[in-house]
Every structure is written in structure tokens, then in C-alpha cells.
């Protein structure tokens, strides 16, 4: 018997085991060539065969070398459970199976001496989601008839930009008895209440990013849905910066300032203003952590757009030179409002935190009226790469925090002045319309979503630890990789079509939710339309408890 050390890595130490049926396998090799993680390989097994060649049974045995597919026993090339092998196998001969006895969290740390990194989302699911304990329970009937989702028109737009309190509007009555404007107001864009969240052109493959941009353009130009997409930190292709489609983009700046050199240089050539600027302070999935683009994903075009060499690209956890909220306001004021001559709203994105309300209060009281949106990102959000400990153990749920911020604004009579946009696990179950609608009733003006967009594109990852390899640059479906063979797996037109179709379906579903509560414009803050089946949730969110 071969000598074996108990410390050797074996498949039952790994999170997924490959189940392989040699009898069905034709050795076509598709699975091995398709596995982007090189977690399976062709090997030769020594097999004993019993046979009989005479008329009567006279069993004989023979040893032969048989080619088979085997799982790689390595913490580097381990199976992520993406299931591409199963997808591609013509004979159903191979598939990954979750290993409940995995020792992966321990052996990876022991052997690597480094923290575990991955992409994806929080993987510690234990209870029913808060949003699933809430229902739209105030049904219009009798004295207040419901609307007809098919027949009525609905005005489903959300503000992006700073909104002045009514008494500060520069309006006066003119000689003709009509109101006239006698000053300027901060820019506000009214957009679809679902923004495609900030995923950078480095985190996503060029095909994926292009597909999202295509979908956004189609939704605007052909479907009449003013959906906006946030660039993420990492710049925008110059061709897009100079095109008319820039008006559908929200440009993001984060602590690394990646891509802004190009954006600044393109400004004189812009034919349209961008839809907005989003300053990213924090991210819900890995609060307190900066952006991280592993060197293996820094392809040539990324190097060109960002002006960097092929190396790990880290955005610092903090904006350099940003030490206080007041300063962040100044920073926005000076650099971005001025850069676009006060025509483009500037908003801020922070990770939900126990301190979010204080931050929000500071911004909402800002005397310059320049903070054009408070984007609050909760723990359930996704990310391209982060330390697993951050993903699993840091962060703050979004639902109650969003509500807290809205109620804080309400207590000061300032609701709506800084639009609230929420994210973090919304649409996790596939029903973004329902999640978004509930968040809007709780006080959000709109929501933003990133990882759901990836799932529309064909991302096979999930919250149970499947795949979650966005950080490796080896995305098996070509979404979060820059490897040309992998990227080519993704059909950008098909992705754009999926996104467009999802938004059209979601739009219908929004109406199906607005009709029964009898509203034709978004019910921002209408918590009376909601009921909760959980007393604690009801108490915390100040909605009616039902059972």
C-alpha cells in the first residue's frame, strides 16, 4: 500500500467532491478543458478486470491502465462547485457534490498562511430574510378602489439629486400670476427606481460590462425605462465617455481614483453629461475594506483604462484626505459639482453601519445642499473579491438601517431632501420588484442591485458557497474574468436581452404591487402599506404586526 500522510489534501477535505461515473464517460475531455479552475484532470487508473473466455465460466483477472477523470487534490485548484463540467458533459457522467464534511476553512489557512479570499456574497444564511417577513398588506378595495395594473398609467420614477425644502425653492409669483424661477436649484435627475449597481470594468469582463451598458441603452432608447447604470470604480471606455450614451451612466469615484484620469481628460469631449457621480466611501459586502482587483484580472485594456501596470490593484479602505463628514461634503462640493459645472448630481455610497444615521444626519443638514443621494449598502451585497472573514462576519443588514435613516429624516421634516437608495441582498430570491417595493414603502426612493444582474447574465454562484470565485479571474461563465477564452463563453447580446427582459418583467410586477395599494406614483415611506408577520420586525420597522 502506498504510504499516505494524514495531512495530505484529499477530496473529502475540499468543499466540493467530484462524482464521476466511468461507465458513462466517453473520455471526450470536454469537462477537463471546460474547468476554468483546473480542478479536474485526466488520469490513468490501474483497474482489475475479471473476465471469462471459455464456454463455461472460468474467471480470470487482468490488470489494465484505464484513463479516467479525477478531482485535483489541491487547495489551489480545488473544485468550486460551479457545475460547468456537468453542464458540458454529453453523458451526465460527472458533477460536483457539496461536501458537508469539508475542512477547507481550516486547511486553506494552515497550508497557505494567508486569509481566505473569494468573491460572491455573504454565505452565512441562517434565518428567513426580513423582507420575506413583510407583506404588502394594505389592499385597496371598497372606499379606495385599487388601480388596474394593465389599464392605468404609473409614474415610477425616483430622484437622484439634492432636493430643496419647499420654503427654499427660488420661486416667486410673476406679473401673470404664475410662478417664476429666480435662482438656481441643485440638479435632480428622475430615473427608474432600480439602478444597476456599481461593478467596475475590471471586476467584470469587457463583454459583461458592455452587455450591461447595451441593456441600459436599449431600456432607455427602446423601452422607455430610464434605467441608469453605475460604472463602478475603474473608469469607463473613452468611446463611451464621448458618446451620447454617457447620459445613462453614473460615474463612480472611489478611494483608488482608478480611471479618473481618463474621465477628466475626456470631459472637454463629452457631448452629454453623465447621469450622476457616485462617491464610494464603503461597500456593504466588505465594509471597511477597499476595492481589490487581483493582478490576474488586470488585463491590457484594464491597464489602459486605469493607467496602471499589471499588478494587484487595491483601493485604500479610506479616501486619502477624508477625515470627517464635513470634509467629504467639501470634497464633493469642490471636485465634482464644480467639475461638471453644477449640472450633475453627486451622491455618496456608504456601507450600512451602526453609525449610518449619524452620517446621514450630518449630510442631510449640510447647508450647501449638495449631497444628491445617500446610497446605503447592506451586508448581503456581492463583491468581486474580498477576504472571506469580511464577507462572512462584517456588515450591517440593510432593511432596518434604511428605515432608521428615513425615520431620522422624517423626525426633522427633511424626508426626501437627500434621496435614499438602498442595496444589499435585494432580489436575492429573484424577486427584485417585491424587495424594491417593500424598501420603497419603508422609505427608500429607489434601490440598486449588482449581483442580481450577474445572475441574469448567467452567474452560477449562490449564497451556499457555489463558485464564488470572482476574485480568481477564472469565472467559468465569462462574467468576472479577463481571460479571453473564458470571456468568449459569454454572449453579450444574450446577456443584454436577459437584463432587458428582466427589467420589463420587473416593471410589470411593480405595477402589480402598486395597483392593489391604489397608488400610481411610488409609495415612498408608505409603511402603512406593509404588514409584518414577525413582532420584532414589526416593532423595529414600525409597521403593523399581523398573524
Amino acid at each position: 500500500m502506498e504510504t499516505m500522510k494524514v495531512q495530505d489534501v484529499t477530496p473529502n477535505d475540499l468543499p466540493w467532491k467530484i462524482i464521476y461515473d466511468a461507465h458513462r464517460c466517453t473520455l471526450c475531455g470536454s469537462c477537463v478543458s471546460a474547468c476554468s479552475f483546473r480542478a479536474i484532470e485526466a488520469k490513468v487508473e490501474r483497474r482489475r478486470l475479471i473476465f471469462s473466455e471459455s464456454e463455461l465460466p472460468e474467471p480470470q483477472s487482468r490488470f489494465s491502465a484505464v484513463p479516467v477523470i479525477r478531482q485535483v487534490k489541491s487547495i489551489k485548484n480545488y473544485c468550486r462547485g460551479c457545475g460547468i463540467c456537468e453542464k458540458i458533459c454529453p453523458n451526465d457522467a460527472i458533477r460536483p457534490e457539496r461536501n458537508p464534511d469539508s475542512r477547507h476553512p481550516i486547511i486553506t489557512r494552515c497550508l497557505g498562511g494567508d486569509s481566505i479570499k473569494r468573491g460572491g456574497r455573504k454565505n452565512l444564511e441562517s434565518t428567513v430574510r426580513t423582507l420575506d417577513k413583510i407583506r404588502v398588506g394594505r389592499i385597496s378595495q371598497m372606499t379606495d378602489p385599487s388601480l388596474d395594473a394593465q389599464r392605468h398609467t404609473f409614474d415610477m420614477l425616483a430622484p437622484f439629486g439634492r432636493i430643496l425644502p419647499p420654503e427654499k425653492l427660488p420661486l416667486g409669483v410673476g406679473p401673470d400670476g404664475l410662478l417664476q424661477t429666480s435662482g438656481t436649484t441643485p440638479p435632480v435627475n428622475w430615473i427608474y427606481p432600480v439602478i444597476i449597481g456599481d461593478m467596475s470594468i475590471g471586476a467584470l469582463s469587457w463583454r459583461m460590462w458592455e452587455a450591461v451598458a447595451m441593456a441600459v441603452a436599449y431600456l432607455n432608447e427602446e423601452c422607455g425605462l430610464p434605467v441608469r447604470m453605475c460604472s463602478g470604480e475603474g473608469g469607463v471606455p473613452v468611446r463611451l465617455l464621448k458618446s451620447k450614451y454617457l447620459k445613462y451612466m453614473i460615474l463612480q469615484i472611489a478611494s483608488g481614483h482608478f480611471g479618473w484620469n481618463r474621465i477628466a481628460k475626456a470631459m472637454p469631449h463629452m457631448v452629454e453629461d453623465p447621469a450622476g457621480i457616485l462617491i464610494k466611501i464603503g461597500q456593504g459586502a466588505k465594509p471597511g475594506d477597499g476595492g481589490l482587483l487581483m493582478a490576474q484580472k488586470v488585463a491590457e485594456h484594464i491597464q489602459a483604462i486605469r493607467g496602471v501596470p499589471k499588478t494587484d490593484l487595491l483601493s485604500p479602505p479610506n479616501h486619502q484626505g477624508l477625515y470627517s463628514i464635513e470634509e467629504s461634503v467639501q470634497k464633493m462640493f469642490l471636485s465634482f459639482n464644480a467639475a461638471f459645472k453644477f449640472r450633475v448630481p453627486v451622491a455618496i455610497k456608504v456601507a450600512a453601519s451602526a453609525t449610518s444615521v449619524s452620517v446621514f444626519n450630518n449630510l442631510v443638514r449640510d447647508p450647501y445642499n449638495i449631497v444628491g443621494g445617500f446610497f446605503l449598502d447592506g451586508i448581503d451585497g456581492g463583491t468581486g473579491a474580498a477576504h472571506e472573514v469580511s464577507l462572512d462576519h462584517t456588515g450591517h443588514p440593510i432593511v432596518s438601517k434604511l428605515r432608521d435613516c428615513y425615520l431620522a429624516a422624517t423626525a426633522q421634516g427633511r424626508q426626501g431632501q437627500i434621496p435614499l437608495w438602498a442595496a444589499g441582498g435585494l432580489g436575492k430570491t429573484g424577486d427584485l420588484a417585491a424587495d424594491a417595493f417593500k424598501m420603497i414603502c419603508l422609505g427608500a426612493n429607489g434601490v440598486f442591485s449588482g449581483k442580481l444582474i450577474l445572475q441574469m447574465a448567467g452567474c452560477v454562484g449562490n449564497d451556499q458557497g457555489r463558485c464564488n470565485a470572482c476574485n480568481t479571474g477564472l469565472c467559468p461563465v465569462g462574467i468576472t474574468t479577463q481571460e479571453p477564452p473564458l470571456v468568449r463563453r459569454l454572449d453579450p447580446e444574450k446577456v443584454a436581452q436577459n437584463i432587458v427582459n428582466y427589467f420589463l418583467a420587473m416593471d410589470t410586477e411593480f405595477k402589480k404591487l402598486m395597483a392593489p395599494i391604489g397608488n400610481s406614483s411610488l409609495p415612498v415611506g408608505r409603511a402603512d402599506a406593509l404588514v409584518a408577520t414577525d413582532q420584532a420586525v414589526a416593532d423595529k420597522l414600525q409597521v403593523q404586526y399581523v398573524c
Binding site: 432636493i163 419647499p166 409669483v173 410662478l179 421634516g413 391604489g518 415611506g525
Partner: protein
């Protein structure tokens, strides 16, 4: 379901007209109460138009508390009218011991004050009275304003009319504008304050339907003005929005319509005043209503108007003769008091207009 009505005339009218207007629509409401507000007073109040009249229902203790407060503030009573009540047994009325209609002269040091100062004083005093009388339900202070009288009571409107002898026309208790409604807010608790019309600083509003943006309205209005209190009925929100837009922001009435039922964004974009309408929609989004409602309002200059929500429309009809205009939820109400009018000139307002009746009874239909 509410039925609401209003009469505006060149001549002084007795409230019996309002009772008749509403009585014919009694199948449409639940007869749980009667409330009316009279503007532009005649009869015994005619000579006191410039002085505030207190309308209050209270216990003896309540009257004493209120008079003490007014006395302390320096108000001097110049006139008092106590309605002669009919206490016959069997009437369906939940009557308070005293109904107080008293006209006061301003405190000496306010006599030469600016109009606005006086108006703020009247509001503050009413709020003070209300707060003082509220704890033990010692009384209900409905209005304290020049040339305005309010009467509200719980019970059958016919019996309330009988109790106050409102069925018997006279020329002592009259007004040129009367708004009325025959229902308590039975969706929630029966509270006298919950019955519309409501009054605030010369503005009166009443409405039917259900305000589905009630919570949004309330949460916003609570912080807008000290006078925006109570919220016993979701219809109070309409009064407060009217007051805020027309008085506090000092915008023409048409912008009330733009605030409560803003045009869709696609329509706003096509207009010359897109910039203003968008600013209004942005900053006053929490005062939007989403129906179904019809609102009747009276402005401080006694202009009477009506408008509806933009989607679900509660009915309202306007009938008129040379000297009288009547607003009514149902046309049968108008038939009752203006039987000889030319019904072909009746107006059925649509969802995008405000219809106003000015002091000369000229009708203006302003389209949003």
C-alpha cells in the same frame, strides 16, 4: 362614504339650506354626525366681521377654562350667541353641555398690530385652548377666526338640526358661504375633531374619499407648521396642504393642484413651466395625494373651490343660478335647493381642473 356640499351666495343664507342640501343625499352617508363651517357671516355677526369669533363645544368647566385663557391673553368679549336648543326627548344627538359662539376684540396691545401678527395670535390662542381642554375632554375648539363660525356634533343630522333649531330659517344666523358634511369619521374612533370641514387661519376644507398618502402627508406636515396638528381624519391633510401652499408659500391656488396631483413627468417635460413644476413635484412630493378624493375649499377671501384627485375621482357637481352656487356630491342635493336652475349649465369637474367661485359668483375653471 362621505357626501359633501357647499353653498355660496350673494345673499345671506340660513344653515337650513345646507341641511336640505345634505338631507337629500342621506342614503349616501351614514348619518353619524353633522358639521358645517360658515364664512362671510350675516345676521347677528354681520357687524363684527373684523373680530374673531370662537366656535366651541364644551362642558361648564371647559367654558370657564377657555374664558380664563382668553381673558388672560387680553381678549375682550364683545358679543355672544348661545343657540336656543330643542331638548325634546328621543333626538339622536350626543350633545355637549354648552355651545359657545363668542366674538372678541383683540387685546389692547394688538389693536394696531400687523394683520399677520394678529392672525398668528389667533392661531396660537386656539391651539392653547385646544390643548387646555383636551385632557379631560372638557371641550372642542373648532375655530377662532374673524367672520367664521363652526358647528359640529355627533348624531343624526336631522336631529342635530332639530336640536339647534336649524330647520327654522331666520335672519339671525346666516352666512354667504356654508360648507357642510353629514358624517363622523367612522373608520376610526368617533372624535368630534375628526368631522370635516376643518378650519385653519381663514382656510376651510372638506373632502370625501380616502387619502391613501395619508401617512406620507402626515409625516411631512407634522414638521411644517405648528398649526398642523390633530390628524384625527385623513382629510385634515388637504386643509394643511392648502394652507401651506396658499398661505405659507404664498403661491396662487392653481399650484395647490400641482402639489396634490402633480402631472406625470412625461407631461411636465412638454410644458413651458417644466422647471417650476418639476421643482414643486420634487420638493413637495410628500404632499401628493393618490385619491380617491374630492376636495372643497374656502379661501380667506371667501373664494369657494373644488378639485379632485387625478385618478380615482369622487363625484362632485356644481349647479348655479344668478345669485347662488352649490357644490354637491350628488346632483339631487342641488335639485333640492336650486330646483329652478338651468341644469344644462351644471359643471362636472374633471380630474385636472380647479373650479373657483369668486365674490361675484364668477366661475373660473382653471385647467392644470
Amino acid at each position: 362614504m362621505c357626501r359633501i356640499g357647499a353653498i355660496k351666495s350673494l345673499n345671506y343664507l340660513h344653515p337650513s339650506q345646507a341641511l336640505q342640501l345634505m338631507q337629500s343625499q342621506q342614503k349616501g352617508h351614514d348619518n353619524s354626525g353633522f358639521a358645517m363651517i360658515m364664512h362671510d357671516l350675516g345676521g347677528i355677526f354681520e357687524n363684527y366681521k373684523h373680530l374673531p369669533t370662537l366656535s366651541m363645544a364644551a362642558t361648564d368647566e371647559g367654558v370657564r377654562l377657555a374664558e380664563d385663557i382668553l381673558h388672560q391673553a387680553g381678549f375682550q368679549r364683545v358679543m355672544q350667541w348661545v343657540p336656543e336648543t330643542d331638548n325634546r326627548p328621543g333626538l339622536d344627538i350626543n350633545a355637549m353641555p354648552n355651545y359657545v359662539f363668542e366674538t372678541f376684540d383683540y387685546p389692547r396691545f394688538y389693536r394696531n398690530a400687523e394683520q399677520k401678527e394678529k392672525e398668528d395670535l389667533l392661531l396660537d390662542i386656539r391651539l392653547q385652548l385646544r390643548a387646555a381642554l383636551e385632557p379631560n375632554e372638557e371641550g372642542f375648539v373648532y375655530s377662532f377666526w374673524p367672520d367664521v363660525v363652526t358647528l359640529k356634533e355627533i348624531g343624526d343630522p336631522r336631529d342635530i338640526g332639530t336640536y339647534f333649531r336649524l330647520w327654522e330659517p331666520d335672519n339671525k344666523f346666516t352666512a354667504k358661504v356654508i360648507t357642510a358634511q353629514c358624517r363622523q369619521n367612522t373608520n376610526y374612533d368617533i372624535v368630534r375633531y375628526a368631522a370635516h370641514p376643518f378650519h385653519l387661519q381663514g382656510y376651510t376644507a372638506l373632502a370625501n374619499g380616502e387619502n391613501t398618502f395619508y401617512l406620507k402627508n402626515v409625516e411631512f406636515q407634522r414638521k411644517l407648521h405648528r398649526g398642523y396638528i390633530g390628524f384625527e381624519s385623513d382629510s385634515q391633510c388637504f386643509l394643511y396642504t392648502l394652507h401651506y401652499v396658499h398661505r405659507e408659500l404664498d403661491w396662487p391656488l392653481r399650484y395647490f393642484k400641482h402639489v396634490v396631483t402633480p402631472l406625470p413627468f412625461t407631461d411636465i417635460e412638454k410644458r413651458e413651466d417644466a422647471q417650476q413644476l418639476k421643482a414643486i413635484r420634487q420638493s413637495l412630493g410628500h404632499l401628493e395625494i393618490n385619491g380617491p378624493n374630492t376636495i372643497i375649499g374656502v379661501l380667506p377671501d371667501n373664494t369657494l373651490f373644488t378639485c379632485c384627485d387625478a385618478k380615482k375621482l369622487r363625484p362632485i357637481v356644481i349647479g348655479r343660478t344668478e345669485d347662488t352656487v352649490v357644490f354637491s356630491s350628488e346632483v339631487c342635493g342641488i335639485n333640492e335647493i336650486l330646483p329652478d336652475r338651468d341644469w344644462e349649465t351644471d359643471i362636472y369637474p374633471h380630474e385636472r381642473e380647479i373650479v373657483t367661485i369668486d365674490s361675484k359668483l364668477e366661475v373660473q375653471r382653471w385647467k392644470q
